[in-house]
């Protein structure tokens, strides 16, 4: 008995847009009929070109129909600036055909005739019509011409019948979603948007519809660079990656007394937060953590937001921590991430790329406040949610994260962290100033260890030329955590 496959396999084509294939669930379904929609300037034409150049071959070329939109000469002029543009494909595997005259003189019937003629002669594997919306909204002189609904349906039939994967590009508004027949016929709907928030622009992409396969829901950040569009999946490209099993291993911070307070060090794969006000040694502690990892053969990454990599390395050097050899041999990557208008997804993408290249086991984020400031205002409102996704993704890869957090010092209360992010971290350590005997001294305490028991001691520490030196538990004082302690009364 012959066993037939249960379902037809659908080949997935690469979109040519880095990050987008992940969002689509592997790639674009072959022979699908898709729409790229959005306001002017969103990158619709660029996305279509990336798809065209990634898939066009001499045997199955791409035909790019232009209609009343951007003139082809301008399109070629601008698109050739991107690195994906391959001039050798022009007129061999990528052909441009202008349909404006056919539309003006013969209306939608003329367009359909012209597209049919070119498609039947050219055997294209990819067809783009740009701009499709202007085509439907600018009927020709013939009042008896085919209706837009019928036109869309026939076009869909033609291009599917000729085994072409199609993109219709149009400047649609979301309000048009319900009324336009093209959205019903389409297999895939790619919605691009750009929002201005204060002085920054945030570009987002949403797959509103995709027949035949699961795509990642929600709005994904994208950026237009010299290489074209680059999309950043909300799942950070880790959706298919299995989470590592929790480890029982502890990572040393390079400060034996602190390791002891934490029950042997930071549990591997944990997110560890060091919070404290300016000058309490957060960055130094983070650097010692990284340096200890390097000493033990564990590559690391430091994401810096508030100073240059040279400044960071120089400061580490002043504490006897020479990071340069590790930077040179590739086991340490210092990443300066300060451009404004960053999205968390872009940042995490860069970090994940660095992790893949270095095999890093330890990651320092110095600092969360600097990270937030580097984000576009629109992303700051989602910072906590974004931070959650980032930490969940990275710790899921088995990376141990140490984040620093600048805290405004209060001498009335002790706050563990701002941003309401305590619940996002597995372990929290608090550094703070305290006034004792007319001196500004420093204390530290381990506030939370999700992985188990930890020291309850409040211990004094000093920052010396050799780094953190942790002293004994501070005894004989009440209200240490307020910063203004009293001498404890001796019990009678």
């Amino acid at each position: 008995m012959i066993t037939l496959p249960a379902k037809v396999p659908i080949k997935q084509l690469t979109t040519g847009v880095p990050g987008l294939d992940d969002i689509l669930g592997g790639g674009l379904p072959e022979f699908s009929f898709n729409i790229i929609a959005g306001a002017p300037g969103c990158g619709k034409t660029t996305m279509a070109h990336q798809f065209v150049f990634a898939n066009a071959t001499k045997e199955r070329p791409a035909i790019y129909f232009t209609v009343l939109g951007e003139p082809a000469l301008k399109m070629l002029r601008y698109q050739q600036q991107y690195s994906f543009f391959d001039a050798s494909k022009l007129n061999t595997s990528v052909r441009f055909v202008n349909l404006s005259d056919a539309l003006i003189t013969r209306g939608l019937d003329g367009i359909l005739e012209e597209i049919t003629k070119v498609v039947e002669a050219g055997n294209p594997g990819v067809v783009v019509v740009d701009s499709f919306r202007t085509l439907l909204h600018n009927p020709g002189k013939n009042k008896n011409e085919i209706s837009p609904d019928l036109f869309v349906q026939r076009l869909g039939l033609l291009l599917t019948g000729w085994q072409a994967t199609t993109f219709l590009v149009g400047e649609y508004a979301e309000t048009e979603l319900r009324d336009s027949p093209v959205f019903t016929v389409a297999d895939g709907l790619f919605w691009l948007s750009q929002d201005v928030d204060r002085n920054s622009i945030v570009r987002k992409l949403q797959i509103m519809k995709l027949r035949g396969q699961g795509s990642v829901p929600g709005k994904h950040t994208f950026r237009i660079t010299d290489d074209g569009i680059r999309a950043y999946s909300r799942t950070l490209g880790l959706i298919s990656r299995k989470r590592k099993m929790p480890s029982v291993k502890r990572l040393s911070t390079g400060i034996p007394e602190l390791d002891q307070m934490m029950g042997g060090g930071i549990p591997e794969g944990d997110s560890f937060l060091v919070s404290g006000s300016s000058g309490t040694g957060k960055s130094l502690l983070a650097t010692q953590f990284i340096a200890e990892g390097l000493r033990q053969g564990q590559p690391g990454i430091v994401a810096i937001f508030e100073e240059s990599t040279d400044e960071y390395a120089e400061r580490a050097n002043s504490f006897g921590l020479n990071l340069q050899p590790a930077v040179k041999d590739g086991s340490l990557r210092l990443m300066y991430l300060r451009p404004l208008d960053l999205s968390v997804d872009e940042t995490v993408h860069d970090i994940i790329e660095a992790i893949r290249k270095t095999g890093a086991k330890r990651l320092v984020i110095d600092s969360l406040a600097g990270f937030e400031m580097a984000l576009a205002p629109a992303f700051r409102t989602d910072f906590r949610e974004s931070l959650y996704r980032m930490i969940f993704s990275l710790t899921g890869m088995g990376i141990t994260i140490l984040s620093t957090l600048e805290m405004e010092e209060s001498f009335k209360e002790l706050r563990f962290s701002t941003f309401l992010i305590s619940f996002l971290t597995d372990d929290i350590m608090r550094l703070r100033y305290v006034e004792i005997d007319g001196q500004l001294r420093k204390i530290l305490m381990v506030v939370k260890m999700r992985g188990g028991d930890h020291s309850k001691d409040i211990r004094e520490y000093e920052i010396t030329s050799k780094g953190f030196v942790i002293g004994d538990r501070l005894k004989g004082y009440d209200h240490l955590i307020t910063g203004i302690p009293n001498r404890a009364r001796q019990k009678p």
Partner: protein, 142 residues
Amino acid sequence: MNRNSPSPEIRAIAQHLLARETGAGDSPQTHEQRAFLVAEKLRHPLSTLVGATGYRALLARAVALAKAQDPGLGRLQVKPDGSLDGLSELSNGHAVEAGGAVITEILGLLEVFIGEELTIRLVSDIWPDLPAFETEPEIEPK
């Protein structure tokens, strides 16, 4: 390099196209017909790319640029259908220059918009055996 004027390579290609249209058939083409034939061969593929209106606009601009260099080409014009008109009214020698100037300018316009490489690719599609033109790089004026 002055980006508003066609590069030496584009000029060489224009001259080559004009020259090769001579003797395409048994009867030698008249000088003004050469430019007309080159323009006509350019018309279809360029109209496919930029539309008939787009091609007519490019040719009209090329004629205007040619006229700016030689005011004696006053009667030269582009007809509504996108074909060249008025070449036959010029003297033989003048028609050669005019035709050469118009073809050079239209290729120069393509060069300005889409660059030399894509322009040569487009021309090579129409004249597949177009030879490679090695030209000396222009020296930037000090």
